[in-house]
Amino acid sequence: MTPSGRARPSIAWAYLAPILVLMAVFTYWPFIHTLYLSFVSWNLNPGQPTKWVGLANYEGVAGSPLFAAAARNTLIYIAAGIPLKVLLPIPLAVAVWSFGAGGHVYRTILFLPTLLSFVVVAVAWSWLLSPLGGYMQQFLGLFGLGMPNLLADPDWAIWVVLGLSSWKILGFNMLLYLAGLASINRHYIEAMRLDGAGDWAVLRHLIWPLLTPTTFFVLVSTVVFTIQQVFTPIDVMTQGGPSNATTNLFYMVYQYTFLTFNVGYGAAGTVLLFVLLLFVTLVKVGLLDRHVQYKQ
C-alpha cells in the first residue's frame, strides 16, 4: 500500500488516459488538421484530392463580401448587445440582491430562458413575430395595425436575432452579477450608512466600483457567448440572410464548409475565428482568476 500522495506514476496516468486520448483525437489533432486544411483547396468529397494553395484561402476569405458582412455583423452583435446583455442586468441584480430572500422569485423567473434551448427560443419567436398569422400579427390586428416581416427585412433581421439572444442571456448574466454582489463585505455598507450615506451614494460610490471586475467578466463571457452561440438562432430563423444581413463569422464558416463545400475557405475562416476567440478567452481566463480570488 502506498502512502497518500505517492504512487507509481503509472497508476495516475491510467486515470488520466481516457481524457488524454479523447482530447488528442477530438480536440488537439482536429485543431492541427484545421490549420492544414486552411492551406488546401478541397470540396469535402473523400474521393477528391486536396490541393496545396498556400495563403490563397485566407486572401479569398478576407476579400469576400460574405466575410465583410460577417465581420461587420459580428461587431454589431457584440457592440449593440452590450446595453441589453451586459448593462441592463446590473440594476436588476442590485434590486434582487437588495430584496434578499424576497428577490428569489425574480431570480428564478429571469433564469428560465437559460434552461431553454436556442432552437426552442428561436422557433417560439418565429411564431410570435411571423407575418403569416403569428401572434403579434393577431394582437396588432386588434388595433388595426399590420405586422411587418421583420426577418425578411435586411435592416431589421439582425435586431430580431440580437433581441432574442439578449432575452436568452439576460438572467444568466444577472446571476453572475449576483455572485459578485454576494462577495461584497456588508461592513462597508454599514460603515457608509453610519456616516449618513443615502442609497444613491452607496450604489454609486461603493457597489458600482466593487462590481467593476464582475462587469468586465460578464462583458468578456458575453462576447464569447455571442460569437459561439448565436449560430443557432441565425440558422433557425434566417440562415444568415436576407442578403447576409444576419450572418456572423461562425455562420460564415458553416456556410463555406457545409453549404458550398469550400473546405479551404471554411478552415481559413475557422483559424481567423480562433485568433479572435483566443484573444477574448485569454482575457477571460485572466479575469476568471481574479474573479475567483475576489470570492475567497
Binding site: 497518500s4 495516475a12 481516457p18 434552461l115 461562425f250
Partner: protein, 273 residues
C-alpha cells in the same frame, strides 16, 4: 442591503417588467400548444376549447417519438460517460504527485480554449471515415471530454482531507475502491448539480447533431423541431408550439429539482445553453 422606499419601488417595477418580458412569451407559447386548429390564428391568447390535439399531431406527423428516444438515449449515455471520465481525471490529478502532472493539467485546461466550433470540420470528416456518420456514436463519443467538469471536480477532490484516502486504504481498499466507495459518495450535491448542467447542455445541443445526423435514425429533438419549422411553419403552429413545450420540460424539471446548486454550477461552467 435594505433600500429606502422609492428605490424599492423602482427595483420592483424593473424586475416585474423584466419578469413579464420573460414570462409572457413563454405563456403565449404554452397556451398556443393547447389551442385547437381553428383558434391558432386568434388574438385571444388562451385556448377556448383546450385540446391535446397538437401533442397527438406531433407524434403522428413527425417521428417525434424516435427523436425523443435518440435525444434521451444519447444524453444519458453521453452525460454518464462525461461524468465517469471527469471523475477519473480529477481523481488522478488530485490524488497523486507525479512528474508531468502540471503539463497534463495544462493540456486539459487548454482544451477549454478550443471550443468545438473550431474542430468541427476535421471531426466531421473523421466521422465519415470511421463510418459513424448519422449514428448515436457520432453524437456521443467526440463530446465525452469535458474540461470544465474536470476543473470543478478537482477542486472538490482537493478539498478532501488526505487522511480520508489513507483511512480507506488502511481498511484494505485500493485507490480504485476508495474512489467509488469513499470519494464519490461524498461528492453528493456537487455531483448532482454537475450532472444537471451537463444534461441540459447536451439535451439542448443543436449544432453538432445538425452536422452529423441526416436521417430520422439518429436525429435529435432540437434538429427535428427546427426541420419541422422549415417544412410546415404556418400550417403547423399548434404542433410546433406543443413541440417546443415538450422539448423544454425535461430541462425545466431537473432544474427545479436541484435549483440553487444548479445555478451556481452554471455560473462556474461557462456553458450557456
Amino acid at each position: 442591503m435594505e433600500l429606502t422606499r422609492p428605490w424599492k419601488v423602482i427595483g420592483h417595477a424593473l424586475l416585474t417588467l423584466a419578469s413579464l418580458a420573460v414570462l409572457v412569451p413563454m405563456a403565449l407559447v404554452v397556451l398556443a400548444a393547447f389551442k385547437p386548429h381553428n383558434e391558432i390564428f386568434s388574438s385571444v391568447p388562451w385556448p377556448q376549447n383546450p385540446t391535446w390535439g397538437n401533442f397527438v399531431a406531433l407524434f403522428r406527423d413527425m417521428p417525434f417519438g424516435q427523436y425523443l428516444w435518440n435525444t434521451a438515449g444519447t444524453t444519458v449515455l453521453r452525460v454518464g460517460g462525461q461524468i465517469v471520465i471527469a471523475i477519473l481525471t480529477a481523481y488522478g490529478f488530485a490524488r497523486w504527485q507525479f512528474r508531468g502532472r502540471d503539463v497534463a493539467f495544462a493540456l486539459v485546461l487548454g482544451a477549454m480554449m478550443i471550443p468545438h466550433q473550431l474542430t468541427m470540420i476535421p471531426i466531421y470528416i473523421m466521422m465519415g471515415n470511421l463510418g459513424w456518420f448519422d449514428s448515436w456514436t457520432a453524437l456521443i463519443v467526440p463530446n465525452l471530454a469535458m474540461p470544465f467538469a474536470v476543473f470543478l471536480l478537482r477542486q472538490h477532490f482537493l478539498a478532501f482531507p488526505p487522511e480520508l484516502y489513507d483511512a480507506a486504504e488502511m481498511d484494505g481498499a485500493g485507490h480504485w475502491r476508495a474512489l467509488w466507495l469513499v470519494v464519490v459518495p461524498n461528492l453528493g450535491p456537487a455531483l448532482s448539480a454537475l450532472v444537471v448542467v451537463l444534461f441540459i447542455d447536451c439535451w439542448n445541443e443543436y449544432f453538432w447533431p445538425l452536422l452529423v445526423t441526416d436521417s430520422d435514425h439518429a436525429r435529435t429533438l432540437q434538429v427535428g423541431i427546427r426541420q419541422y419549422l422549415q417544412e410546415e411553419m404556418a400550417d403547423a403552429y399548434g404542433p410546433l408550439m406543443a413541440g417546443v413545450t415538450l422539448v423544454s420540460l425535461p430541462a425545466l424539471a431537473v432544474f427545479f429539482a436541484f435549483q440553487r446548486r444548479v445555478m451556481d454550477t452554471f455560473v462556474s461552467s461557462g456553458l450557456k445553453g
